[in-house]
Amino acid sequence: MKNLYIAITCLGIILAGCNKYLDKKPDKSLVIPSSPADLQALMDNNDVMNNNRAAVGEGSADNYYLTDEDYNSFYRESSKSLYIWDDDITYNDFPNDWSRSYDAVYYANTVLENIDKVTGGNTGDYDNVKGSALFFRGCSFLTVLWGWAVVYNPGTADKDLGIPLRLSSDFNETSVRASVQQGYEQVLEDLRQAYMLLPEHALHAMRPCRAAAFGMLARCFLSMQAYDSALVYASRALALQAGLMDYNGLDSLSNAPVPLFNEEVMTALGMIQSSNLYYGKIDTVLYNSYDKDDLRRYIYFTSNADGSHSFKGNYNNSGYYFCGPAVDEMYLIRAECEARAGKTGDAMDDLNTLMVKRWRKGSFIPFAAGNADEALKIILSERRKELLFRDLRWADLKRLNLSPQTAVTIYRRLNGTVVSLPPGDLHYALPIPQQVIALSGMPQNPR
């Protein structure tokens, strides 16, 4: 019996030590976020946060075309559908542009939910990581709005179907579509908070900085046709970062002539690799619009054996096409907004500040415009020529189509047939993946 007591006593001692023994974490590299550094590490996952931006907008836009041969050789049906604005894109591969846009949102939400719970570090660490999360989330929502919602229309935005605004990391929460108005407000809210927190100079171009937040705000307002606000934020961005590369210093013979993290880059964001863009040939009319002395003709494009041209002017110098805010874009936004405000002179000054860095040394004749309308026309043309393959064209088409002066119908010529997309077509809001619709019960974009 005595032995039994001893055994029981031993067992008691063992059990008391149990909980401590079991507190050992199974995997050393696993952590529960406990410091701002842990959360910063999430934001530094640039495969998720930076180079994970939807490419469906650029893939739907008219900067490129596919030859019948290339189109026919495509393996992914979603790539084919995207090209001809066909709804079969809803039968999607995974991961896809929709899911990947929200990956960054989840990471950002995880940071935002934990930032007040973690300890250690200094105030700057907290501000930087929280600002980064807000910046990335705002960017993601904006990209999704551009791709999958109709254009921002001040009259109807509070009724138009927007996108799911996921603001918590609880994956059990059902996705619901907020209105377009709510969507843009959320983007503005995130980015405004972000710029207050982000540092003027980030440690690395992959980390968000204040100029980039201003830049994204300018972008967002521009797509809302809120040109006064866009002008304000473009100026604020330029006040922090205004350096331009002189293209005369770049090697146009290189396959990747634009240096990585160059001085125009505010924060480096990259689009998901897309065969549409790789295989895409530059629209012939667009290519021919570049002057012989316009260095962009040589820096941006490479000639193919068949006489067509492919894009090589990627600011990311890799397979991820750059789509982050940059100095050249800010000059163009400001110039456009100035022109729209009737300030022709300021507009042309901004444009020429940029353009002189793009033309062959000594050959540049400053652009001139007799009136604001003329200025706007020139600026929009140069905007397209400067910022192609930056995920801006699709949003530009959507907003410019609202005005008859700038509206265009775009076409795809394929295997002897022509598919057209007139201004205001419902297909300007891409179909949401069918699996998402099936699981969430959200309404699909109407057709």
Binding site: L22, S29, N45, D47, R100, Y102, A104, Y106, T174, V436
Partner: protein, 1066 residues
Amino acid sequence: MSYINKAAGLLLCLLLCVCSHAGQLTVKVTDASNNQPVAGAEVHVAGSSYYSLTDTSGFASIPAGDKGGRITVKALGYATATAAFSQADTDIQVRLVPAGASLETVTVSTGYQLLPKERATGSFATIDSAALGRQVTTGITDRLKGAASGLLFDGRLKSSSGLNVRGISSINGPSAPLIILDNFPYEGDINNINPNNIESITLLKDAAAASIWGAKAGNGVIVMTTKKGAYNQPLRLELNASLTYTAKPDVYKAQDFMNSAGYIEVEQMLFDNDFYSYYESSPFRPALSPVVETLIQQRDGLITPAQAAARLDTLGHNDVRRDFDRYIYKSSLQQQYALSLSGGGDKARYLLSAGYNANADALSAGYNRYSFSGQNDLQPFKALTLHIGFMYTRSKATSGKPGWDNIIPTAGRLLYPYTRLADDEGRPLAITKDYPLPYVDTAGGGLLKDWHYYPLDDYRHNTTTSGVEDLLLDVNTQLRLLPWLKAGISYRYEKQHTTGLALQDAESYYARNMVNSYTQAGSDGSLFYAVPPGGIAVNSYAAVEGHALRAQADIDKRWNNMELTALAGAEVRQTASGAGSYTLYGYDDATLSYTPADVVNSYPLYVSGYSDYINPGTGLSSHTDRFLSGYINAALSYRSRYTISASARKDASNLFGAATNNRGTPLWSAGGAWQLNREPWWQAGWLPLLRLRASYGFTGDVDQQRSAVTTLSIVPGASYTNYSFANISQFANPGLRWEKTGMLNAGVDFAMKDNLLAGSIEYYHKHGTDLLGYAPLDYTSGLRQQAIIKNTAAMKGDGVDATLNSTLLKAPLSWQVTLYYGYNLSKTTRYYRGESALGSDYVSDGNIISAAPGKPLYAVASYKWAGLDPQTGDPRGWLDGKPSTDYAALLQQTMADDLVYTGSGLPVHFGYFNNSFSYRQWSLTISISYKLGYWFRKASVDYGQLYNYGYMNRDFEKRWQQPGDEKHTSVPSLVYPYSSFRDQFYNNSEALVVRGDHIRLQYIYLVYNMAPGQKHRMFSNAQLYLNVLNAGILWRANKEGLDPDRYYPNQLPVPFSLAGGIKITF
């Protein structure tokens, strides 16, 4: 004189006595069921090295000692019997009980206790060393084939052994059974275990048997017991040596092949459609096949059409299989040696063993293994036992040649069927690799390293060696405190250390390509190497260290007609593993010199000009699993007729982030048995054994990978920034629970008179709840996955395990038949899938758990097939009741209910049919396995994959080519432009579902027992044996000649092997 006479008489008398007793003892061995003599039985005098075999009349004579002793008698088909003889005996009779009826005398090991099977209420199956010896293989698991019921080898899993006990109960958690070596779970690589060291294996199949193992026992438990010495036995030496010959794999049987002419036709067609124009213009310069290169040269006027035609004609006559057959694959030899020394006195027993295996495989890859083990038991006084054991294994594997499908021209692309690996003289030829041949011929103008790839030479420069060292130490001690109470402590230490070196020397393609890719050529011809020239070595290590400590009390108390067996204990276990790897650039193995590479900055790539970073190639990980368990187990018998048993166990683990109250899970079982034939009223003389038993209980399963809180995994060196970055590795799931499996088992054990039929039949019902399953996820949640694993599903399964033995003939020619039969059909009963009823979410080849409630757990689900379109050869499905070729709609609009569920992807009926014959010194066992009642989906043509990645399939030749073909083929026509939806539909359609049923000749085992006894004093026993493995399929339901266990198109059939060996006991 009289004294002298008296003395002489007495002496004579004494002498006579001594002589007669030191002389021969005659042993007669008979069959207990019919009193017929048993021939060929092995008679062994305990404590001596003496063996003898009985003759045809069942007699054997042995030298008897002068003070009596014990003999052990073994014979095929009978339970081993022992008998004592005294000084006075001159002849004794031993009655052998036929094996089937001997179920009641078998002892089973649960890893916690040794239990007489007659008092077990649970389901156990025991496999003895003789059964394990019938298949000569390097690993132990292969030897379980054909040795028990309820054990299924799922051949569809390429990586693992696919072993499962009574079907799988974990849906997405770990699905392998728990392996116990002696008292504790074995944490190392199962291949470390030398099969010659294993005395027996017990399968714990139901909850009453396995619940003692608690968590992790949900998929069944396999208990391996090592050989031990025997008390009071002089030194005994056993030697076992064998040589196995394995035939050359038949590469001509590959399913993923197309003839060269057909392949060239496809390439020509694609070229005519400008399929390759992008490849030609890409800055990445992707490789193009020799045929496409030829067509380009012809188009560009570099060669004449006649030259091109001649070149294509030559290529069209090549067959890469010929080169694989001639230069790559070989027949191979495996050697096995095992030596053991054992013995013991009154107070100690010991066994020391050593084993050596040396294998070479068909690709000349080497494997050798040394294993040493020692098992010592001490019994300094009656009440105390002490066991000290060790097992040490050291193995080394070296890589060989690249096999079928391992020579890859360019990432993601398969080898062209017209590739030549060697020229007519057998010299290695360069094949197309990452860049076009014309490009690498001239790139760098001679300044770069040779950029060609020679597969037949490259493997010499690209070697992987890995070594595993495993040490196991066991210490147990048990003290008898009271006649009925024992207390014991057991401790196990295990350490496995694995080291690997993947060496790509300076001559290897990989190293040359890396150096060239990062070379920058200055305009003055100077070269800058970002990747230092030389070899590239990746060193890696992994270590697993486990401690397990157990304290246990055992009770064995008898009073009146009652007997109580009980045990209670507590256990603590920790397994810590760590791994790491690092890469050395500019490495020279001869001098161990290397040059650090700059992994921080990006460098332009030579070919594309894009900037890229050099992979630092480092990684570290560390993992610790901890378990705390308490358990209790008791069985109470009355008059040896009625037994009831119960067990309970609670496990707790350091499941990361789990709330403390969820760390532990209580599991229990209860059972009863009734031995009818021991009832006084039992009259059925024809049925001397009849026992009924039933049990019910729970086992659990836990996946240490899951977590209840958001956890990050920190990774060093983000691209571009080189900062540490984090991935979210677990998404907070506060509702995480342990998987639980309940099992009801009911069985009958019986033996008929004369052993006409004996065995056991069991029925079981399994139901799993809280099973970890994939729940589809609205990926707007941003989890980077379409589904999340959570406790989401429930399943139930019914099964039957039967073992039937029958002795059809007795000596001199004996014939014994054993049938193992398993039936298992598990179904999904509940599965959370949200709102989605899209058919595409349910289509399955039967290799993943089906989410369709009411369907088999591994249901084969397909799109309904409407045949080929008679006009175009397009595959057709059903849409709104009409045949349709709208593939996008077929894939998107087919609902789960519209799918065709053919049946289970796992065999529903399976088992083995073994026949054993023995005649004089010969015995022969033939084992036949069968798997019935299941389906699989065979691979077929996928045109999109063929065009883009070069995936081939023999079905190409059977494709629809003209109207009328649809009557005898279901392989769609070749089309371009193509739709991958069309391929996807066809490859997931009913048309490719094939019956998996087949019968296989599992093994043949022939032994010749060399006549022992006086004539061969050198040794006491010797056996010569021959073993045939993988002898082939005897019958299969499919007409295509596919092996359903290896139907992956890129798997070659397992070639047959023949082993011969000798086993000698000194």
